[in-house]
Subunit: 337 residues, 2 copies
């Protein structure tokens, strides 16, 4: 039986952090054995809201690729590719844009929320407004059955399904595949400042590539229970990011339970809990950092992986584009010549 | 000295009519000697408001190409090409979309007028709303210095100039060329019903491919001066489409002046004037029709012209895309590999 196809990826606007690991990379490590997984380094999508910073976008391509490989994404199992090297994605976007009304784009809930979050006001780049269509091109180009997303991204998958149905109905075909959203169990890690989301913009992230001393400093400065002023005071575990992180990274679940109870009844200082967390984090990050350093010594090999992945992805997407143009009777060379 | 570059073309949504000849084809015949002229069969642009009729669009590619060649566009001088065979145009569109705000697109006067004219209401396809950006991609891909347009299309050239400036400024380059609009002397031929514009939608056109008997029927039914009821009545020449057409197609300017004066003082019947017009039109259309019939007997040759033109245009546009990506530091293969 052929494996189902997964499309996933990241905008290349900076290095990846623990939030990415928990929310998506860990899931990809699981998926790569049972699915045909395409992982997209979304440089073109990153440009939709960073048009004036292409150097940052290009530099991040390599950083994110190193993050992937360092955590264990296996290029023999997963196809890692660069979006801007796949021209078919732009062409598909152009054809899909004719199937969706301007009005519909305006009311995409994810885009609306992001416009507020990014503070665009009236100055939203047109490229940003249409990125749901571009994403539909990405998903359908690879005939993805499954797209792992956070729950805030569900409207994007709905938009893709809508385009698939409209396309297949309009051109009387079944060439495009309806994707399904897959929402990972743990979707989100809070920031070290206690905010709901770890993010570069909020400056509250621990990066997979952070050196050990930086991680130590960040953990030491972490937000905890603000009412846990003296060691002997009872502390809160819920909403305390130190314990949320421990839930994910602490290997000894029994000991973690004891730590929580001790913290709740009082007598356990933040510094002790943070020390436990730091140890657990370093135990996780040490091999990732080590692998990353190794990879950086042989960047040629990393580049070869990206080149081969992009070539493979390009051939796949070109084939879909060919089928799409056939379905539209736009296979002009064949029809006219 | 290298020749300046002209980009021009037509949406392939149907055959061309006398209005196209007067408004643009005649101008192209003059330009092709002194300029490097690219003529685009704009099938992708035609799809922006005819997404559900690709067969009509594809069929029209050949019809319009036959019209071009029949009136005397010389493929040795002008490069005739098919838009959907040039992937770089889609890629350039994607990059330019990030440089223009959604708000700016909304307020494009040409697009606003066309939305009303086409009766889109709230259901404007997103592809139609962004077509000024796609047009900027067409113009800049061929580094056009000159773009012949009707005066209603001036905002499209302004939009392109805006994108060129924004791109060159943002990426500190001079790779994109600012185009200039060229407004032909006679921009518009009225319809046979007297409406300001000859158009397929208004069903008031005489096509370059109309057989002789159809042209005769259309001329016979032409709108004239509605107050010129009896032969002996004085008639109006201004706003009388029969005389507007005579101005363009009647070879004997002296005799035309006499006809006008006779018509104005009364005693000259519409049927006589229409007979003069019909003779002049057939004298113009006969060789065009003849050439068209010849070309249709050897469609392989026409297809070869389109293939060679598209190959040449593709190489040109790919080179521009390469320069654009270099300017953006997005020449990833070169930078990373």
């Amino acid at each position: 039986m052929t494996k189902k196809i997964v499309l996933t990826g990241d905008r290349t606007s900076g290095p990846l952090h623990l939030g990415h690991y928990v929310g998506s990379l860990a899931n990809r490590l699981k998926l790569q054995d049972d699915y045909q997984q395409f992982i997209m380094l979304a440089d073109m999508q990153a440009l939709t809201d960073h048009a004036s910073e292409p150097d940052r976008i290009v530099k991040s391509i390599l950083e994110v690729a190193l993050d992937y490989l360092a955590v264990g994404i296996d290029p023999k199992k997963s196809t890692i590719f660069i979006q801007s090297l796949i021209p078919a994605l732009s062409e598909l976007t152009m054809y899909y844009l004719n199937l969706i009304t301007w009005n519909r784009l305006k009311h995409n809930p994810t885009v609306k929320a992001e416009i507020v979050q990014k503070g665009f006001g009236e100055n939203v780049p047109a490229g940003f407004m249409i990125y749901p269509i571009s994403q539909a091109a990405d998903i359908t180009a690879f005939k993805a059955n499954i797209v792992p997303v956070g729950d805030d991204q569900l409207p994007m998958i709905e938009q893709t399904v809508e385009i698939v149905r409209k396309f297949n109905r309009t051109y009387n075909t079944s060439v495009l595949i309806e994707p399904e959203a897959m929402i990972p169990a743990i979707a989100r890690l809070p920031g070290i400042d206690g905010q709901a989301k770890m993010s570069k913009t909020l400056n509250n992230a621990i990066y997979l590539s952070d050196p050990a001393d930086i991680v130590a400093k960040k953990v030491k400065g972490m937000y905890t229970d603000p009412n846990h002023l003296r060691v002997e005071d009872p502390g809160k575990v819920e909403g305390n990011p130190v314990f949320t992180y421990l839930d994910v990274f602490y290997p000894d679940k029994k000991k973690l339970q004891e730590l929580k109870e001790h913290y709740q009844r009082g007598g356990l200082g933040d510094s002790i809990v943070k020390k436990e967390l730091l140890e657990a984090l370093q135990a996780f990050l040490d091999p990732v950092r080590k692998k990353r350093e190794e990879l950086k010594k042989d960047l040629k090999e990393v580049m070869k992986i990206l080149k081969e992945g992009s070539d493979k992805a390009n051939a796949f997407a070109e084939n879909t584009l060919k089928e799409v143009k056939q379905a539209m009777h736009l296979d002009i060379m064949h029809r006219l010549f």
